[in-house]
């Protein structure tokens, strides 16, 4: 049973119906009265309400699902889809960042390199993982593992799930911006196939720092944005409460990102979000990963690198001599 604190505002009608259903079932058992008809009616109503709510989620509601504390995190997918994950620690320079992890694993029997942003599930782990906000050392460890992937010709699979790179004094003093920038450049040149998956939050440069890949996949309720909706609202609307407006204006949700050509495929989630059925979400991801890995393995390295360059080269729309180009 999920804690009531985790019920999102727009899910409250469902919560109420679930409560009524529990009550009926309880009463049916206690009174030995057959309430099957009533129970069935409520079950149908729940299903209809669920379909209704989840078929017209706003961008802001999707952001809330992407941040849901019970949403599957990278390690949940790694455990579900990969065998023998061997975590490799440290940037060999300063420390081991637990918000950005990585290592070798097998996917359907084939070796791959995994790089993943990881949030914590309980308060203690959240602190250990720095709320999923990597520091420069995380990006430098990621780069070390990416270069190892290239050296041993392992495909690279990255999991993106961060509110952003850590904006703190230590992070600045050790040049988090440079760590991200170097990854952007080196990922573009990496001589091995790469796929990134936005599993939760795609928070700006912190996300892109492991996201310059041949394919970019995103879960249906994940988001990817240049700035958090709250941050944008504070700057442009001068009001944090305008975050829902900012989320819509920024077009942060998966369907928008697909139509803008920024992501290659949207991976469907179970109704209500991946946390309602993590196994089903993992299974959808497995199918997509296998398909894209097969496609990428068929390309020779030069073609792969050209296609990757062109993929990012043409993202963006501008005007030139009166015509709109990208």
């Amino acid at each position: 049973m999920e804690s009531p604190a985790y019920v999102l505002e727009f899910e409250k009608p469902l919560r109420e119906l679930a409560r009524q259903l529990d009550e009926l079932r309880q009463r049916s058992i206690e009174t030995h009265v057959d309430l099957a008809t009533e129970i069935h009616a409520i079950e149908q109503k729940i299903e209809a309400t669920r379909r209704d709510i989840y078929s017209r989620l706003t961008s802001w509601q999707k952001v809330q699902i992407a941040r849901h504390p019970r949403r599957p995190y990278a390690l949940d997918y790694i455990r579900a889809l990969f065998e023998d994950f061997q975590e490799l620690h440290g940037d060999r320079q300063f420390k081991d960042d637990q918000a950005l992890i990585g290592g070798t694993a097998f996917f359907n029997g084939e070796a791959v390199m995994i790089v993943a942003q990881q949030k914590g599930r309980d308060p203690k782990e959240r602190i250990l993982r720095n709320f999923g906000m990597p520091q420069p050392e995380g990006y430098r460890k990621a780069l070390r593992l990416m270069r190892m992937a290239e050296k041993f010709r392992l495909p690279l699979i990255t999991f993106i799930d961060t509110p952003g790179a850590f904006p703190g004094i230590e992070s600045e003093a050790r040049h988090v911006s440079e760590a991200i920038a170097v990854n952007l450049r080196e990922m573009a040149l990496l001589r091995t196939p790469s796929i990134s998956v936005v599993v939760g939050e795609g928070g700006s440069g912190g996300a892109l720092g492991i996201g310059v890949t041949d394919r970019v996949l995103i879960f249906e309720n994940s988001y990817y944005s240049v700035i958090s909706p709250e941050g944008c609202a504070a700057i442009l609307w001068k009001d944090n409460a305008a975050a829902p407006l900012a989320a819509a204006a920024l077009k942060v949700s998966a369907d928008h990102l697909e139509s803008l050509g920024v992501v290659d495929e949207v991976i469907p989630e179970p109704s209500g979000g991946a946390h309602h059925d993590p196994a089903q979400a993992a299974s959808a991801l497995k199918y997509a990963l296998q398909k894209h890995l097969n496609d990428l393995r068929a390309l020779d390295t030069e073609k792969l690198l050209t296609a990757r360059y062109e993929r990012f080269r043409h993202l963006g729309v501008y005007e030139e001599a009166g015509t709109v180009r990208s």
Binding site: A181, L208, G316, V317, E320
Partner: protein, 291 residues
């Protein structure tokens, strides 16, 4: 006892600190600097050496040998792919930036000669939308890098930017990948890239091309960082120590190679590129003057 509230005239030294009137207050010393005097000295205060921001065109005029700069891609302008509206529609903001700055975009690009050495350059200008990088700025910078690659000449980028341009959403973020990928190709071809950080350089610009220079130079006193002071404080409750995120701090902490006065930049760039690109000492043609 009662004191009258003292009256001060506060001169804000932010976006608009390119002097408009007759004189400007030097924020480091409080001295009065005559605008004409500053303009004649590339916006460097003659006495204190304080660097006021300089516009892209004024910088270009002093950087290149006379008559050698050829502007490129002046027709590349911002579009509004997201149909972004906050308190006003994005296209209206663009029109205002164009009018206020007299520039077509937040970056001016082209090729020219520095003491006889040909380079491809991109010069950002903070007056246009705070130098924010959208798709047009990203495209122009990427083309400047690709021009260097095609013509096998060095590339120099002067950054001055608050970061990514929010009104272009995810596309503005992707300009970081686009420009960095182009620099990857430039580097593979063995062509030098010098990044010059000017006041201020923040956010997505710092986290992409600006920190990818083979050599990273900064102007004195330039504010350079990833997250702004407010974001750092909101997220971590930390208050930034004095002098944090300045060029001087970053030199000490190993990010940048040198702090160079604007007045010395032309010669310094030539010296560095003579070493990295020509690989031999070249006498700067004595008679070559900047325009």
């Amino acid at each position: 006892m009662h004191f009258d509230k003292p009256t001060y005239t506060v001169r804000r030294s932010r976006k608009k600190d390119i002097p408009k009137g007759l004189y400007t207050k030097d924020p480091t010393t409080g001295d009065i600097v005559f605008n004409k005097e500053a303009e004649d000295n590339q916006m460097v205060a003659p006495k204190s050496g304080h660097h006021f921001p300089i516009g892209a065109r004024a910088r270009i005029a002093k950087l290149f040998d006379e008559g050698t700069f050829a502007e490129a891609d002046a027709g590349v302008k911002s579009s509004d792919p997201l149909k972004f509206v906050d308190s006003q529609p994005y296209p209206e903001r663009i029109k205002r930036y164009e009018k206020d700055s007299g520039l077509p975009e937040a970056v001016i690009c082209g090729t020219g000669k520095i003491l006889g050495l040909e380079v491809s350059v991109a010069v950002m200008d903070f007056r246009f939308c705070g130098g924010a990088m959208g798709a047009a700025a990203g495209e122009k910078i990427t083309r400047a890098i690709e021009t260097a690659l095609d013509r096998r000449i060095p590339c120099i980028i002067f950054s001055a930017s608050g970061g990514a341009r929010m009104q272009e959403g995810i596309y503005s973020l992707m300009q970081m990948a686009k420009t960095s990928a182009a620099l990857g190709r430039l580097g593979q071809a063995g062509l030098p890239f010098i990044s010059v950080l000017t006041h201020p350089t923040m956010g997505g610009v710092t986290a992409s091309f600006a920190t990818l220079g083979d050599v990273i130079l900064a102007e004195p006193g330039a504010l350079v960082g990833f997250a702004g002071a407010r974001v750092i404080k909101d997220t971590t409750k930390q208050t930034l120590p004095a002098g944090f995120q300045t060029a001087e701090f970053l030199l000490k902490h190993g990010l940048i190679d040198q702090i160079v006065s604007r007045l010395d930049l032309r010669e310094r760039l030539h010296e560095l590129l003579s070493a990295l690109h020509l690989r031999k000492k070249t006498a700067a043609p004595a008679a070559v003057a900047s325009s």
